[in-house]
Symmetry: C2
Subunit: 437 residues, 2 copies
């Protein structure tokens, strides 16, 4: 009867729909990836910030309520304040800049890697809680700052050991000039949103939507001609074509030319294609825009996107703060890396060596462990001296520990992958043998 009561009182250990635990096999690679990205960002003089998870709802929804509105986690706190959990890192950054631009120094180069929350319906690979990784330069509007972001994207992907990625870059203002010349200025927002869907719905569908929007088959064709001008052409050829379509040289085409020459100076131009179909739907971009695709996984979608915007913080301050930034979709990138069998994800071992010992050897085990840790070797001790070997092997396998060390009669190191064992006279002899990753 008592046990019945206990069972009744138990709570099922479930998480909310759209949320998930991160187990060591996922959390170890995620931390490894974040460290590599942070190291790259630091090498460019970018600094980290953080902001509160909760903010006044009016700060977060200031403008562009609409669709986002229904998707945010919003509530009244115990003090009766209307609060919400951040749904991106851009709005909090704008508020942060308005509050602190004097303290941080402009131009300001920051990164922010942390969770955001959206109440949208969970789909395959989409969660209500996920990590964003944003990096921006604020307070400079020139080709050099555009380049710095692009270069940092390139070095990030290279540092992650990803083979085969292409940055698709375009310029929103150049497209706008083209549309204006076509007499399509008023339909620009709808056209941008439609073109943004090209990858999802295909050229024919986009064409018929454009015909609907413009009410003019020839104009729809011209837009299609513009957005497909990059197909198979070099960066500079595409730039020439588009400049012509947009009615000749202008500030936007000059900026693109300047950016390309910097990409050449940096020796990274081959990873960039001029792709005029990139528009980034959202309406706050004013200059370059870009998306990033893994060559082997085009269907994954963009894993790193962004662009140049003006006056990010205009809702909160009169200070003019033009910027350029980018965001890596960490969860999507990790899904891609997993599909590609990246070694970054494969190795989630908890330790380099597992010390296994009898009850009388605990002191000796502790001594050995402290010595190995002092040499930078990740050392786990198996904590049940009475366990059967089968259980210990299964423990080591579960935690992907490559070496096992037993203490008597001699120090014996066993490579659990090859099953080879070797005796050693001392810990210092032995530690040289353990390959560190």
């Amino acid at each position: 009867m008592a046990s019945y009561v206990i069972i009744k009182a138990m709570i099922e250990p479930v998480v909310l729909k759209g949320f998930r635990d991160s187990l060591p096999k996922d959390e170890i690679p995620k931390k490894r990836i974040i460290r590599k990205l942070e190291d790259v960002f630091s090498s460019y003089g970018f600094v980290p910030i953080d902001t509160p998870v909760l903010e006044y709802t009016k700060i977060l929804l200031g403008k562009g309520g609409g669709e986002t509105d229904k998707q945010i986690f919003r509530f009244q706190d115990n003090g009766g304040r209307d609060v919400a959990m951040r749904f991106d890192l851009t709005v909090p950054f704008a508020r942060f800049l308005a509050a602190h631009h004097d303290e941080v120094g402009i131009p300001f180069k920051r990164y922010h890697i942390n969770k955001v929350w959206r109440g949208e319906n969970p789909q395959k690979g989409r969660y209500r809680e996920f990590v964003q990784c944003d990096f921006d330069i604020v307070g400079a509007d020139n080709a050099e700052s555009d380049y710095e972001i692009l270069s940092m994207m390139h070095r990030s992907f290279s540092a992650l050991g990803i083979k085969g990625y292409t940055f698709h870059i375009s310029h929103r203002a150049l497209f706008s000039i083209f549309l204006e010349n076509m007499g399509l200025k008023d339909a620009a927002v709808d056209i941008l949103r439609t073109v943004d869907k090209l990858r999802k719905i295909g050229e024919d569908e986009v064409r018929s939507l454009l015909e609907e929007i413009t009410g003019d088959k020839a104009k729809a064709d011209a837009v299609i001609q513009y957005i497909t001008a990059g197909d198979g052409s070099s960066f500079m050829d595409t730039l020439e074509k588009l400049t012509k379509l947009a009615g000749g040289e202008n500030e936007a085409s000059a900026r693109m030319r300047e950016i390309y020459s910097l990409l050449e100076a940096g020796g990274i131009e081959s990873s960039f294609v001029f792709d005029p179909s990139i528009t980034r739907g959202l309406d706050y971009y004013t200059g370059i825009v870009y998306e990033t695709f893994l060559d082997a996984l085009p269907s994954l979608g963009s894993v790193c996107s962004g662009g140049r915007y003006n006056n990010l913080a205009s809702l909160y301050t009169k200070e003019e703060l033009p910027g350029v930034g980018s965001s890596i979709g960490l969860d999507r990138l990790m899904a891609g890396l997993e599909e590609l069998g990246s070694p970054l994800l494969a190795n989630a071992s908890s330790a380099d060596v597992l010390i296994v010992h009898g009850k009388e050897e605990t002191g000796k085990a502790v001594e050995c462990a402290e010595k190995l840790r002092g040499c930078g070797i990740r050392t786990d001790i198996y904590l049940n001296p009475e366990a059967k070997m089968k259980k210990i092997y299964s423990y080591a396998e579960m935690k992907a520990i490559p070496y096992m060390l037993t203490l008597s009669p001699a120090l014996t190191l066993k490579d659990l992958r090859t099953r080879e064992a070797k005796e050693y006279a001392s810990i210092s002899d032995l530690q040289k043998e353990i390959r560190l990753d």
Copy 2:
């Protein structure tokens, strides 16, 4: 008129009461400290996990509602679910274990460093959003696992370069045996809570509260005698005294003896004192309990606390999961390190070198920057080629960048701390000169 409208529409960029932004000067050291801790934890075979920020309220409040209840951020989500933001990392860990103990392998050694939220009234140095750093071993109940946690605490503080810290350790069961022998078993919880306040309210106040609770001056005196038995005595002497007061040898005293011999085997016994006044108020501890004080800042309070508990996850599973764990109060520790002038907090430079260049040298600047970054030198480029030198110096100072590099007529590196400048023939000559931190 138009500008009036704009000003009216502006939103004040404020954060919620009890919340704060983390600026680079705080976020850089925080990330540095977390990395050092993670490296230590990894060296013991501990692995990271993460859990959702939002959980079902019934999961988080399962037991021990009461006080915590009013302090949590709790609301109905858009699907009508009763949800709350986690207020610690212990309850989510218990739920995690119940759900995943088969997948992670027992014993399980995990750490979890992340934010938690409490709606308590903000005080000096206390916030509604703060970072906890928890590490636990679950699935083993022996002196060796107790030792592993204590050793990891020691190595963590040592890795942070903290000079002068003492771990105050006691044993809850030994105290309980003593109280039982005194006929004070029923008052145990109240007595534990009272003794826990010793550091805050002093011995006299504790004595008079104990007299109230026990209704017996002699018994109150005996409790005071027990909890002050450690004053000025060695670990083993204190253990002898307390064992005698508790009526002779028992399991708890044997465990403490075993732990001490392991501390000796690890060569770290001098950082541990047996302090029977440590009880950790909370009622779920069943074995050793400990707090950590910085010798130079006793008034700061404990910066790392924890103990042994039984059946952490009993609310969610029938699996028996005894454990031992500890939690570093990262914000409090950082406040302490700041007060002590720790170099860990002092250096928050955004880059090693700032490249300053004229408009015509942008390509060359980019080339130099890429080379330096390739050598592991954090390189910022000043992004406004038309700025006055005064502005550039103030930028470098604000971001604590130690070196400035100009490109013409020759590569010239200036140490901004000494004001000394030197010319170089090439980037590879120059990069050897920049000391990396």
